[in-house]
Symmetry: C2
Subunit: 341 residues, 2 copies
C-alpha cells in the first residue's frame, strides 16, 4: 500500500487491512510516545493527581468543507479546537483522542497529510494524542473526512472560569482580528481570491490562557468565538450571567481583507467563526495587565479591549456604531456559514 | 419546533436554532446531572483521585447502517461500546462524551429516540454523559447520523490487563454466544427474517468485568470482539503476546439462528461482530472461578471456556474442528460486513 492508494471499505473492517493502515501508517505519524495506543481498547495513562484540581472533558466533531483551506486543514483545526475548548475552562490540556470517519475512495496521501497536521498541532500545544478510531463508510455516505477530537485536561485549584461569572464593569478583551477563519474557508468555497492575508487563524491558545491566568487567576470568563462568531459568545455570556454588554465598533479589530470579503458576501464579521481567538472577561482593575500579557504572546499580539459589561438589560448585547448610535446585536438565528468547522 | 420537524443546517450554526435544539431538547434528555454541560466549552468534573490508579481514555465513532436494528440502535451501541472499551482495560468507566454528526433532513424525533437510548444505556452502566457537540452537514453528505463517544475511566491500582499478557496454559473464556450483533444488523440490511431471537447483543459489560476482577484481579487480557469478530481479537492477542492459541470449535457458543443466517450469507460467525460479549484470558487455576462468576452475571450467563493459550507458533491461532482436524484461523483480510458498528 502506498500513499496514493485510496481508502477502501476493508480499511474499516477490524481485520488485517485496518491493522496495516493503523499500525503501519496512522500510529507512527500520530502518536507522541504512547506506544500502547492501538494495541488495546483504551489508553491507560498516568493520573494527573500531582496537578490538583478537577478534570476538564470536551468533545468536538469537525466537518469543515473544504478540508484543506488557507492557513490550515481539518487536522490542526480539530486538535486546536479541542485544545482551546479545554483551555477556555482554565484547564491545562493533556490528552486528545482522534476519531476518523473516512469516505471510501479518499486518498491515503490526503489522510496522511491531515494526520501530520494533527501531530504538529498536538506538538505545538504540548498535548498527546492517546487514543484513536477509524471508520470507513461507503462512497457518497460521507463527505471525504470527518474528524472527532475529544480532550481531557486539568483545571488547577482556585480557577473558576464560567460564562455565568460576568460582573458589571468587567472589561471584554479579544485576542486579535475577527472573522479570519470563516472568511478564509468561504473564499475557497466560493472560488474567490481576496489576497494572501486571508488565512485561517487556527491556533492553540492554551499558552495564551496560561499567560492570562498568570496575571489574573480570577479571570471571569473565557471563550473562543467559533461557530456563530463573537456575537454568539457574547450573547451567551450576557444571558448566562444576567448582565448587559456594550461593544465599541470602532475598536473591533477586523482586517481589511476580511471586511472586504464580508461586504462582498453580505456577512457581518461579528458573526463569522474564529479558530484562533479568545474573548476574556476580566475585572476592570486587571484589564491593563491582562492586555499587556496577551499582547506579549504571539497569538495575542493584536489584543484589544472591545467593550464592557453593563448592568443590563440582562442578556442584551449592544454595540456603539461608528456613526455614534447604538444597536442591539442579536444571536445568529439561522445558518450563516454551514460547515465552517 | 416539534419532534417531527427535521434537522436543518441552522441547527449546526452556533446560533439560536442550535441553542434551542441543544438546551431545549438534547441536554434535558441526555445528561445525568451535570447542569453546566452545554453552557461552557468543557465539562469540569471532580478528579477521581480517591479511586487511585491511572486514567483510561478511549474513543469510537459509530456509523452503523441501519441506525435502528433489532435489539438496539446507534445510541446504546455507542454508549455501550465506549463503556466496554474502558472496561476491557480494567477501568471503571466514569465519563462519556457525545459527538453527533447529523445529516440535514434527519427527523428530530429519530434523533430524540437515539438520545433517549444513549441516556438509558448510560444509566444502566452508571456513567455520566458530560460533554456534547452537534454538527449538521448538508443533505447527501452524511448518512443520517454518525455518533462519536469518547470515554474516561479509572484503572484501579494493581490491575494490568493487556493483549500482551497472555501466557501458555491460560484459558480463554467467552461470555456468551457469538455473532449476534453482526447478523442482527445484516438481517435488516438484507431484508431477511431469521426469527425473533436474532437480535443485537449490545450491552454494557463493565459490571461483568468487575465480577471477573473480584475473583481474578490478575486477569491477563480482556477484549470485546467487535469489528472483525472473535478471530481478530484472538489473532491480535496471539501476535501481541507472541504465543499460540488453540480453540475448540465444538464448544463455541453460536445460536442456531445466527448459524443459519451465517450459512445463508456465506459468513463465518468467528468473524462476525459482537457488541455485548467479552473474551477473558485467565491463568488456568482461576478459570473455573472466573467462569462461575461470569455465569452469575446476566451478561455472562452463556459463558464458556473455548480454548487455551499454547507455546506457539507465535501469533498462530488454530481451531480444532468438529470433524477432529485442526485448521489455521487467520485475521480477516478484506471487508466482510461494512458499517456494522
Amino acid at each position: 500500500m502506498n500513499d496514493t492508494d485510496k481508502i477502501l471499505l476493508g480499511h474499516g473492517s477490524g481485520g488485517r487491512m485496518m491493522r496495516e493502515l493503523i499500525e503501519g501508517k496512522l500510529l507512527p505519524a500520530l502518536t507522541g510516545g504512547y506506544a500502547r495506543l492501538g494495541a488495546d481498547d483504551s489508553a491507560v495513562l498516568p493520573m494527573p493527581v500531582g496537578m490538583g484540581g478537577r478534570l476538564a472533558i470536551t468533545t468536538d466533531s469537525y466537518v469543515v468543507n473544504p478540508i484543506f483551506f488557507p492557513g490550515g486543514d481539518i487536522g490542526d483545526l480539530a486538535v486546536n479546537g479541542t485544545v482551546n475548548d479545554l483551555a477556555m475552562s482554565g484547564a491545562t490540556p493533556l490528552y486528545i483522542t482522534c476519531g476518523l470517519i473516512v469516505e471510501e475512495g479518499f486518498l491515503i496521501s490526503d489522510l496522511m497529510r491531515v494526520i501530520a497536521s494533527m501531530r504538529r498541532a498536538a506538538d505545538e500545544a504540548g498535548v498527546s494524542i492517546v487514543a484513536g478510531d477509524t471508520k470507513v463508510v461507503d462512497r457518497g455516505k460521507a463527505d471525504r473526512l470527518f474528524v472527532n477530537t475529544s480532550g481531557v485536561g486539568v483545571v488547577p485549584d482556585g480557577i473558576d472560569v464560567s460564562s455565568s461569572n460576568l460582573r458589571p464593569g468587567d472589561k471584554i478583551i479579544i485576542s486579535g482580528s475577527i472573522g479570519d477563519h470563516g472568511m478564509a474557508v468561504m473564499s475557497v468555497r466560493e472560488g474567490l481570491e481576496f489576497g494572501a492575508d486571508l488565512v485561517s487563524d487556527t491556533a492553540p491558545l492554551n499558552f495564551l490562557v496560561r499567560d492570562i491566568l498568570d496575571v489574573c487567576p480570577e479571570v471571569h470568563a473565557m471563550r473562543d468565538p467559533t461557530r456563530g462568531g463573537v456575537t454568539s459568545t457574547l450573547c451567551e455570556f450576557a444571558a448566562s450571567s444576567k448582565v448587559g454588554i456594550l461593544l465599541d465598533e470602532k475598536v473591533l479589530p477586523v482586517k481589511d481583507t476580511v471586511r472586504g470579503a464580508c461586504e462582498l458576501l453580505g456577512l457581518d464579521p461579528l458573526y463569522v467563526a474564529n479558530e484562533g481567538k479568545l474573548i476574556a472577561v476580566v475585572p476592570p482593575d486587571k484589564a491593563d495587565a491582562v492586555l499587556a500579557a496577551m499582547r506579549a504572546n504571539r497569538y495575542g499580539a493584536g489584543s484589544a479591549i472591545i467593550g464592557e459589561v453593563t448592568d443590563g438589560p440582562a442578556g442584551r448585547v449592544m454595540i456603539k456604531t461608528l456613526i455614534g448610535g447604538t444597536r442591539v446585536v442579536d444571536m445568529l438565528t439561522g445558518e450563516q456559514l454551514p460547515r465552517i468547522c
